[in-house]
Symmetry: C2
Subunit: 173 residues, 2 copies
């Protein structure tokens, strides 16, 4: 397996979730053992030796790669979830969508002050969600060492919103 | 780390998601690197040498352990998602809830006939969801080698609905 092989396993689904959008579907890649392993190893490689203490994952698809990276790096996993899903005392962050806004939550006691964390998601698009999660982590006092994404939609320039942090992606469109 | 240590990191949240229910919150365990690694290693241990080809995970919390087990076992990962989330051609299964019913979906091309799969989730409660996912996998022709859960609420007897399959859980309440 290599990066070209990985890229070939991502398929375009036109008009999903709505007309005019071409959805990058990673499920054909996830279902192949060697491809999944290669992708996780490549993503984790960026953070070896950096003493990552926690990996932050964003519901739902962001839960796929982040716990694997936590496992590989010997770190813990912290879920950032949609409104109303976490049962304990929470910190909340709001962010803008194309129309309206949305919010994400994390447990108040999930990240201690000074904890070294990374943020991992499947897709970097406009960067709005990732930027909101950075703010959420920093509200709790965590130190964001970097962010990693399987796929980056480079034409949406999400990286510009995260320019104070190292941003890694395996496959760019 | 050991099983007693793991159990001590699961906390009770009373009246969540609604009054009278005591929610078992695994996030204090997930956030600790050694606990997460121990839990994943113990879960994967049940399937070593069984030639697992794919690990099936159920949205959203079920996405946490299942990709890690896929990584450990060298298998692929197949997400079973809530209605409308998967972009490709799908197979659907409905199942009963306390009031009404719900459905889950998987991509039609996700599991080939005869593929050796396991189903992994964080929690076994009544077993209704797990049983639905077994049916979904078998509709596509997959062979269910077994199921694994971090936590089993044994008093809800979910295991009885899965009695034709090996069922593993790390922690029982």
């Amino acid at each position: 397996m290599n990066l070209e092989g990985l890229r070939a396993l991502i398929r375009d689904i036109p008009d999903f979730p709505k007309k005019g959008i071409v959805f990058k579907d990673i499920t054909p890649m996830l279902k192949e053992g060697p491809a999944l392993r290669f992708a996780c190893d490549q993503l984790a490689e960026n953070f070896k030796g950096m003493k990552v203490e926690q990996v932050i994952g964003i519901e739902s698809r962001g839960f796929i790669f982040s716990p694997v990276l936590a496992y590989q790096l010997g770190a813990g996993f912290v879920p950032v979830r949609k409104k109303g899903k976490l049962p304990g005392a929470k910190e909340v962050v709001s962010y803008s969508l194309e129309y309206g806004e949305d919010s994400l939550e994390v447990h108040l006691d999930a990240i201690k002050k000074g904890t070294r964390v990374i943020i991992v998601d499947d897709l970097l698009a406009t960067g709005g969600t990732a930027e909101a999660v950075v703010r959420l982590v920093e509200k709790l006092g965590g130190t964001v060492l970097g962010l990693a994404f399987l796929v980056e939609l480079a034409f949406l320039k999400g990286r510009q919103r995260l320019q104070n942090y190292p941003v890694h992606s395996l496959i760019q469109f």
